[in-house]
């Protein structure tokens, strides 16, 4: 503004210089908007520059300040007011890292508190090979590495890890992982925390993730009952240990607890470095509940061992055994021959993870005759000493029923019919009971219904409904054909007889301990009155004859089940299996069973054993009964059972041969 007129003519050259000096003397910002200063005497002008010109300058300065202030104010309102929530949450996201507080998984103990499953802390060792390689080959740090190549470095890492972890680590695989181009790999998922700390301090590029592992100190003991839990990261579940089999899976919600949430300030870009005192718990973790089983781990081990021995010895396809408390129905042992070691997942196969003792029913055979015995005696139709005429053959509808051994027309006592396991005699007695009452008795014995045990996948077994019975059905059911039950249901029937006629559905969980320490015992299900106490005692005393050792024809089916000092009450069973090729009952494949009460005069335990298709035509008395004897013998010693009052008296089985 000033210059064009000033630089107009060459004649006035000196003056613009002066003026410029003068204008330069004023404050720089004032130069632009300031009008040309009025001509004044030179010495005075210098002073008046400050004085007379300060007013507009102040005005302008003030204006600028005010504009700046207003601008700042507006921005302040914008940031603090309008955008506040958005920015605050953004800031929180940047500085706060949400974290999950893992909930301690509940432990599983046996009835005496021996730990069968608990959690241990482990570390998963991780690496980021792509970043590692990039950083290693970075020219700026090349000097530090002294010519060591990445391959040599990874070899060092793998060697050191192998030295610290041991042979459980596949060194070659670690090398392959480290030299791959993956962005993230797991080197070892089950490292010991101390070892992991050593490795991560030696090689800071190796990361460590906190994990926990389920430990089963007893190995395969009760493995099929407890099942298996492992570290899971499936979508939909909180990362952590979750059950995949057995009770671990069925009770996962209770065992797992509720993980908590917290936020913490962490180092930029590294969530594992938490700034001290910055954690804020949003929700505390609720630990899982501890589960106490009714299982006795020592007994369980012995039963599993003996069962496996007998299965191997007899060449059976499989076997199951169960030990129940006679008075409460609590399961002391529940075993299958095929089992696995939950600590070693490589031992798991399709055939050994299940729990066939509760999931797989079978046709029981003669062991089912106890239903007829209980019904006939409870109805007062016969007494143990009643004599029944047992012919050579018995016509049942369209089928001919025979006994296992060929005999002429015999007069047998009711005791003898069961002790010698006469099919004909049993069918005759069942006929006296009648189909209606027989069907009711089966229901009261719990056949065809789930026991309600806490284990997953329980089978109810099968009893044909009465309206579907064919002509021969009522001849088959009493001798244990045409219906099926699990070994647990089988033992349950004898538990009713042992417990003076009241059947208590078996339970395998003794108590659950809440996180606050309160112990919640399992609610005992209501008992089912099957027969009167008097009838139960009568049946129990009668069934002692099964172990009778006497010359033919007074011999019984299972003298090998006898236990010196104790009166055993029980029943053998040899159920013919269905042959799929002919659709008929096989003559070579049997399901061999024994169910017994220890001891008959003072019941404490009920033991049920089942062997599926042992070699040849071995009968219950030759395979299952000795197994029962072994288990009963161990039980008697383990629980210091008092010996019976005298040995089992001799009973007449055949009144007239």
């Amino acid at each position: 503004m000033v210059r064009p007129p000033a630089g107009g003519g060459p004649a006035r050259r000196p003056s613009p210089q002066v003026r410029r000096t003068a204008s330069a003397g004023r404050a720089a910002p004032a130069r632009r908007p300031a009008p040309p200063p009025p001509p004044r005497p030179r010495p005075k002008r210098r002073w008046s520059v400050v004085g007379s010109n300060s007013k507009p300058r102040l005005m302008i300065g003030r204006l600028l300040m005010i504009i700046a202030l207003i601008g700042t104010g507006l921005k302040l309102i914008d940031i603090q007011g309008l955008q506040a929530p958005e920015l605050a949450s953004k800031a929180e996201q940047q500085s706060l890292t949400p974290m999950i507080i893992p909930a301690q998984r509940g432990i599983i103990t046996d009835r005496d508190g021996t730990e069968l499953a608990f959690n241990v802390d482990i570390r998963a060792l991780t690496a980021q090979p792509r970043t590692m390689r990039k950083n290693w080959n970075d020219p700026s740090v090349a000097a530090e590495h002294a010519g060591i190549t990445y391959a040599q470095h990874t070899q060092t890492i793998a060697d050191e890890m192998h030295r610290l972890i041991g042979n459980s680590l596949n060194e070659q695989q670690v090398l392959t992982e480290l030299r791959s181009n993956a962005s993230f790999v797991y080197l070892d998922r089950t490292a010991d925390p101390a070892v992991a700390a050593q490795i991560t301090s030696d090689f800071p590029e190796i990361g460590s993730e906190v994990r926990s592992e389920r430990e089963y100190p007893d190995g395969s003991v009760a493995a099929n009952v407890i099942g298996l839990a492992n570290w899971r990261t499936d979508p939909g579940v909180t990362p952590g240990v979750h059950g995949v089999l057995g009770l671990e899976s069925a009770m996962d919600k209770q065992l797992a607890g509720q993980p908590g949430r917290e936020v913490a300030n962490t180092e930029q870009g590294n969530d594992s470095v938490v700034i001290p005192n910055s954690q804020r718990v949003l929700q505390a973790a609720v630990p899982g509940e501890d589960v106490q089983l009714t299982i006795d781990s020592d007994l369980q081990y012995v039963v599993q061992q003996k069962l496996a021995q007998y299965v191997a010895k007899t060449g059976a396809k499989r076997g199951s055994a169960v030990v129940l408390d006679a008075h409460t129905g609590a399961v002391y042992a529940l075993a299958n021959d095929a089992t696995f070691n939950p600590n070693n997942t490589s031992t798991i196969t399709n055939t050994n993870v299940g729990d066939p003792a509760v999931t797989t029913p079978y046709e029981p055979g003669s062991v089912n005759k106890v239903v007829t015995a209980a019904a006939a005696i409870d109805e007062g139709l016969v007494t143990p000493t009643s004599v029944i005429n047992v012919p050579t053959v018995f016509q049942n509808g369209d089928k001919t029923v025979r006994d296992d051994w060929i005999h002429p027309d015999w007069k047998m006592t009711v005791t003898g019919i069961f002790a010698k396991s006469s099919n004909i005699g049993t069918d005759e007695l069942a006929k006296m009971v009648g189909p209606q009452r027989y069907d009711q008795m089966l229901a009261k014995m719990g056949i065809g219904q789930q026991t309600g045990i806490e284990l997953p996948g329980e089978s109810a077994g099968y009893v044909p409904p009465m309206n579907k019975w064919s002509g021969s059905t009522f001849g088959n059911l009493p001798i244990g054909q045409g219906l099926s039950m699990t070994v647990l249901q089988m033992a349950g029937m004898y538990q009713a007889i042992a417990n003076n006629g009241v059947r208590l559905p078996p339970r395998i969980i003794k108590a659950v301990t809440k996180p606050d320490g309160t112990v919640v015992p399992t609610k005992q299900p209501a008992g089912v009155r099957v027969v009167s106490a008097k009838s139960a005692v009568t049946v129990r005393m009668m069934m002692r004859a099964v172990t009778q050792k006497a010359p033919f024809p007074q011999d019984a089916t299972a003298p090998s089940a006898a236990l010196p000092g104790y009166q055993i009450s029980g029943k053998t069973g040899t159920g013919q299996q269905i042959d799929p090729s002919c659709g008929c009952y096989s003559h070579t494949k049997n399901t061999v069973t024994f169910a017994g009460i220890l001891s008959a005069d003072n019941p404490r335990f009920v033991v049920g054993v089942m062997l599926d298709a042992p070699n040849g035509d071995l009968e219950g008395g030759e395979t299952a009964a000795p197994l029962f004897h072994d288990i009963a013998s161990w039980l008697a010693q383990r629980y210091n059972l008092p010996v019976s009052n005298g040995s089992t008296p001799y009973m007449t089985l055949v009144a007239q041969a």
């Binding site: 925390p193 100190p217 395969s220 061992q305 496996a308 070691n341 070693n344 000092g565």
Partner: protein
């Protein structure tokens, strides 16, 4: 571009010129000098200003000697007050800093202690795990077998009757070497069980009498 260099000249000059007034104000702290200066402050030149100031100082000096004592007393209490406040402030700041440092240091110590606790807890867990494993039926059975122990068979019982008569129930017999376990039990190692199975018949009478009684002579337990 050249302007700033030239600007510097007058600007520095104005600065030197404007400096004196604050100096005068500092020295002219006494309230007595102020009324003198204020009316003529604006119109006078810098030199005149300085002259006025000097005169005012000169005139003040003798006057000051009188009330000096009183003022000293007043200022002494003020000084102590100020010093006290300063000491308090400085002390407060130092204390705050010290406490903050301590708190941070404690936080780190706490963190360290927590880490130690965690490590120890892990160790406790591992030891418990070890105990549980050693305590488990499979490993106990294996250890018992290694020691040459065998499971007892059917025991005989002694029953003392009400009349004091002792009856023997069952037949006492020596325990038999059982067949080797079938199920896969992790701790069981086959070599020891194999050697043990071979040993008892040969050494039963000599080396391991307590665990395996001689099989040839049945001890008369019932007697």
């Amino acid at each position: 571009m050249t302007a700033p260099a030239r600007v510097a000249g007058p600007a520095s000059r104005t600065r030197t010129r404007t400096q004196p007034p604050p100096r005068e104000r500092d020295t002219g702290k006494p309230p007595a000098a102020q009324p003198d200066r204020i009316p003529g402050g604006r119109g006078r030149s810098a030199a005149a200003e300085r002259a006025y100031a000097r005169r005012a100082q000169r005139s003040q000096r003798p006057a000051e000697s009188g009330p000096q004592v009183e003022r000293k007393q007043g200022s002494a209490s003020r000084v102590t007050f100020v010093v006290a406040v300063m000491v308090l402030l400085v002390g407060g700041v130092v204390a705050t800093l010290w406490f903050a440092t301590q708190a941070t240091a404690d936080a780190y110590r706490l963190e360290q202690a927590k880490n130690t606790t965690n490590q120890l807890q892990v160790q406790v867990g591992q030891l418990q795990q070890e105990v549980a494993q050693q305590d488990s039926p499979p490993s106990l059975a294996a250890r018992a077998q290694q020691l040459g122990m065998v499971p007892a068979g059917d025991p005989a019982h002694l029953v003392v009757g009400t009349n004091g008569k002792v009856t023997v129930i069952g037949t006492p017999s020596a325990a038999q070497q059982p067949p080797p376990p079938v199920t896969s039990t992790p701790p069981t190692s086959t070599p020891p069980s194999g050697t043990n199975a071979a040993k008892p018949p040969a050494k039963s009478g000599t080396s391991t009498p307590p665990s395996t009684p001689p099989s040839t002579t049945t001890p008369p337990t019932g007697g």
